[in-house]
Amino acid sequence: MMSKRLSTPILLLYLLASLLPIYWMLNMSLKTNEEIVGVMSMWPQTLTLDNFKTIFTDPSWYSGYINSMIYVAINTVLSVGVALPAAYAFSRYSFLGDKHLFFWLLTNRMTPPAVFLLPFFQLYSTVGLMDTHLAVALAHMVFNVPLAVWILEGFMSGVPKEIDETAYIDGYSFPKFFIRIFLPLIKSGVGVTAFFCFMFSWVELLLARTLTSVDAKPIAAVMTRTVSAAGMDWGVLAAAGILTIVPGALVIWFVRHYIAKGFAMGRV
């Protein structure tokens, strides 16, 4: 490790640089528009909560948050759900083409979302999924499922195989064993995986915006549209930005103990 004399200033300096842009947004969200555009001030001269009030009272704003939360939740549940059995198979069995399959899963994460925009649009129009939460959730699975399989596989490989064998000898069927015995053992792994699915789905905009128009419009897309329609309403924009950070910050607070552990144990 580094000496305390050196490491503390480095860390503090980095944290300062890292938090300044976020502080600036918070600062703006509490100012009036005249002040934002008019003067350069380190903190609000006239403190106002109007920007936040606008968001909490206008349905076109707060429905964006609800939409985002819905598809992120669906995506997280589905991604973890399909990744669990697959990760188990990769960690416990060898089978025809297993290594190729694992690398192929990885390649799906390498496809630029921009590449998929048009085909997704057409595919989901054809099957009638356009502008639904499910469409965005399914589209986001392209990059979340491979990640979920990676992380879960690492956690599962950390569980001794003898546990499986003992359970089978005791007469457990596979589903019963998996849910009653195996899942509780990798609880923290499931938590970490869910966190990463949440994170990558929450921050993605391109696919979410393309696949929705009205009913499932994510907050990130609402931000871009409302701003252009109302001129530049910097204050409300900043307030909306601050509010998009809140759910993520809450989630990370709850899983903070597992994150580091999750990475260390996972295949990553």
């Binding site: 490790m1 580094m2 000496s3 490491s7 503390t8 860390l11 944290l15 640089a17 890292s18 938090l19 300044l20 976020i22 947004m25 703006m28 380190m42 399909v82 059995p85 188990y88 198979a89 416990r92 069995y93 060898s94 089978f95 025809l96 799906n108 390498m110 496809t111 630029p112 979302p113 921009a114 590449v115 998929f116 925009l117 048009l118 057409q122 595919l123 399914l138 699975m141 499922v145 994170m199 929450w202 921050v203 905009l205 990130a220 910097w234 924009l237 909306a240 930005g241 998009t244 950070i245 993520g248 910050a249 990370i252 103990h257 994150i259 580091a260 990475f263 260390a264 144990m265 990553v268």
Partner: protein
């Protein structure tokens, strides 16, 4: 070690089905477009590899690709060493570790267009702290007008946004090193540099590999942030590959060329990741500590 059992395929079936729906079908649509000239909903002409030849000769694409490579390599060159440094500087346990972990991870959880928006304001000379401070320091800075300023602002934004991921990975890797290694080093009287070079760095190889791969892939696909921040300008200074592609596909409705472009784009990423992966794996076989 592992049991050979082909029935394991049944467990993978759900993943295969969902990924098939969300990845293989769209990919095949693109392959389909890339060899046809689409004149209307019902009118299509097979053109073979025509679009691929076109795209490969497009000078604007070459520029965008070069810009992209330069950007991704700069991202790696800055973020990886910085990430290792910060991870080393972080306390190993206690409330300080928890707090700095949460604070460091914060930029990762901000939606990408909000990231662009933050920096759009933050960098402005009149109302943004960064732009104001730099101008005050006597340096002429204007990210909307000057291509070099725009370029560095996008890079700074990406460093701010994604270094936390490298820090998290390295921090986890460091925590996984057993204490016995450090004790042995202490007995041998190893210097701090030697501990880093011969214990910590080799042990970080696995997490660094994934950090390099993830950062390379994601920076190569960067779209939303520069789009919001600079819109690709001034001129084409910050038009990266995916933005150029989206302009072509959505703006000009050139389905065929855009599809051919997409495939080439995908293969470039695949190729680089493959090379990086193999190179970094070979790198580690020398010292098996």
């Amino acid at each position: 070690m592992k049991t050979y059992n082909n029935r394991a395929w049944f467990l993978i079936l759900p993943v295969l089905l969902t990924v098939a729906f969300s990845a293989i079908l769209p990919l095949m649509t693109i392959v389909n477009y890339s060899v046809q000239d689409i004149l209307g909903p019902t009118q299509k002409v097979f053109v073979g590899t025509e679009w691929f030849k076109d795209v490969m000769r497009d000078p604007e694409l070459h520029e965008a690709l070069l810009r992209q490579l330069l950007f991704s390599l700069s991202v790696l060159a800055i973020q990886i060493p910085l990430g290792i440094l910060i991870a080393l500087a972080m306390p190993a346990s206690g409330w300080k570790a928890s707090l700095s972990l949460v604070l460091i991870a914060l930029p990762l959880l901000i939606p990408w267009n909000v990231v662009g928006t933050i920096w759009q304001i933050f960098g402005r000379g009149d109302i943004g702290l960064l732009g104001y401070a730099i101008n005050r320091a006597g340096i002429d800075y204007n990210y909307t007008g000057d291509s070099l300023d725009a370029w560095t602002t996008v890079l700074a934004m990406d460093v701010w946004h994604w270094t936390p991921l490298v820090v998290l990975l390295c921090y986890a890797g460091l925590r996984a090193i057993p204490d016995a290694y450090y004790q042995a080093a202490k007995i041998d009287g190893a210097s701090r540099w030697a501990v880093f070079r011969f214990i910590q760095l080799p042990k970080l190889r696995n997490v660094l590999m994934i950090a390099v791969l993830l950062r390379f892939m994601d920076s190569f696909m960067i779209y939303t942030e520069p789009f919001v921040l600079t819109g690709g300008g001034p001129g084409n200074a910050t038009t990266f590959l995916s933005q150029y592609l989206t302009q072509k596909a959505v703006g000009q409705f050139d389905l065929g060329p855009a599809a051919a472009f997409s495939l080439i784009y995908f293969f470039i990423i695949l190729l680089f990741c493959f090379i990086l992966y193999n190179w970094m794996q070979r790198l580690g076989t020398g010292d098996k500590s």
